[in-house]
Symmetry: C2
Subunit: 340 residues, 2 copies
Amino acid sequence: MMDGILAEKRNENDRFFLFVVDNYFKDKDLAKRVPAKPEDVIKFIDVDPHEPTTEQIDTLRDEVLSTKGLPAGVIGIGGGSIMDIAKAISLMFTNEGSSTLYQGLNLIKKPGIYHLGVPTISGTGAEVSMTAVLTGPVKKLGLKCEWTVFNQVILDPELIASVPVDKWLYTGMDTYIHCIESENGILNNAYSHAYAEQSLKLCREIFLDENAGQTAENDDKLMVASMMGGLSLTYSEVGVCHALSYGLSKILGEKHCYANCLAFQHLEDYYPEGVAEFKQMLVKHKVKLPQGISNSWTDEQITAMAQVAYNLPHMWNHAIGTDWKEKISIDLIKDLYKRM
Amino acid sequence: MMDGILAEKRNENDRFFLFVVDNYFKDKDLAKRVPAKPEDVIKFIDVDPHEPTTEQIDTLRDEVLSTKGLPAGVIGIGGGSIMDIAKAISLMFTNEGSSTLYQGLNLIKKPGIYHLGVPTISGTGAEVSMTAVLTGPVKKLGLKCEWTVFNQVILDPELIASVPVDKWLYTGMDTYIHCIESENGILNNAYSHAYAEQSLKLCREIFLDENAGQTAENDDKLMVASMMGGLSLTYSEVGVCHALSYGLSKILGEKHCYANCLAFQHLEDYYPEGVAEFKQMLVKHKVKLPQGISNSWTDEQITAMAQVAYNLPHMWNHAIGTDWKEKISIDLIKDLYKRM
């Protein structure tokens, strides 16, 4: 199927595709099924050491441009990190300078090249969202604009990799948290609400009800839930959990979905029902999150994380309201981190 | 908002837009808010006399091409008929000959010109579906391909016209019936199911539960429900009701949403729960459908309608199964019409 989709685009620019594939698939069957031609570039990327960085995007862009030229398109095959890499590099092929210049809303100047997303794990919603989150020297923040969105997405539940239960749960919980945060804030609307409501229903079926678990049927459902959660947050906003999570990732290097879970379990003041249900899902799948980890953090680290979190005003504005600065302080955020 | 969206496109082709607007708005405030420039063409179209026809599309296309040239884009402002006219004419500006040549799946040869949809009544899902249904001399069938889909859609519930309760209900029931038909058939899948499930939930809130009725909140919900119902059927298929409805429209000229309701009330053999709930919604809003209308039809008319319905194999295949020809005959369909 992908071959047919790509055939139409192949003659654009310097007539080759850049495939960005999760290194996990390097020796797997899926890698053999990638419809690359001899002129194409395949990059297997190990997403485990760190989340996508501005430097990583700039380096890959410069390398491809100097050796092969401008691709006809970029195809991302993998999880949320690979989706964000594919979206970001598509934009950076046509926007000059470092990607650090474009972290924020609508800073990108030109549409990127064609980009196609093929998710192999469900939950982040990165396959449909309008942001490509990058960690730079100063901030963790997305390249967010209408051109970030993939031109096309292939949703095929048969590509969902069999992952360990904890990774499956953490990634799925990203969807769950997207919906809870999208619903609880001033930007929620009929559109984001309808998507969140259905995505939450699917999450309950996948993670909580009698047919919960890693089944083929639930792989189908999680793929749809991830998409709907991603559409919900795109038309609303994320909130307190994502702000704290960005601090954990930027300062301590924690991976996004896991960092979300570390934070969300302690946010009952903001999302009481959501946190209670989230904990039921953890119990159901016998996944235990570490407790007391903040004991090993220095005050400098906690302060730095709180500053990262505080500097995401769009999230606090949504979650707390336009007067959020009267209610949220660095000290309050530090106290939230100390709960972990 | 529309002005900003259109500004980017205005310099394409012969640098004017074609606005296709429901005649209902001719002397209303909305017509004054249409951001047309002096060079643009505004066509107010009365959709009451008949559903969109192939002849109507061909004539309008030829008239615009011969007097003004090729538009930069088409903007449709109105209900399902106007949406279908805008989608169809966008395609017919670039595909030669009569639109009758292209009634069916993937018969269109080239992408159309830019087209933007602005729905003012919710229910048909035409704002998101990949078909533009036209009635031609031989058949009622859509121009169906990926290029039929609008390039952009503005969903603004404040544009929803205040319509009489019966029209509001019939159009909303198109959404309801889309979901019931999408769900009950062999092409239903995780994607179409999730959309149908949420759309049905919204329909119950809008038409059945304690807060049912024509309220601003329900206008918001119906706009989302219509979109989700349209997406559900696009990735699945409609069924028995739409097949019968097309016969009523083609032979007797009944309008689509009303024709659906006339047929659906008698389809308890195929959709027992859906038909029961549909009847509750009619009672709730004191809308009565006529009974015994088939008494005034000739056998020739009933046979002609049954032939129209039978010649929609994609609908029967979905609703009944791949062996539908063993189960469905012209005589059986005639009996269904005689129930009306």
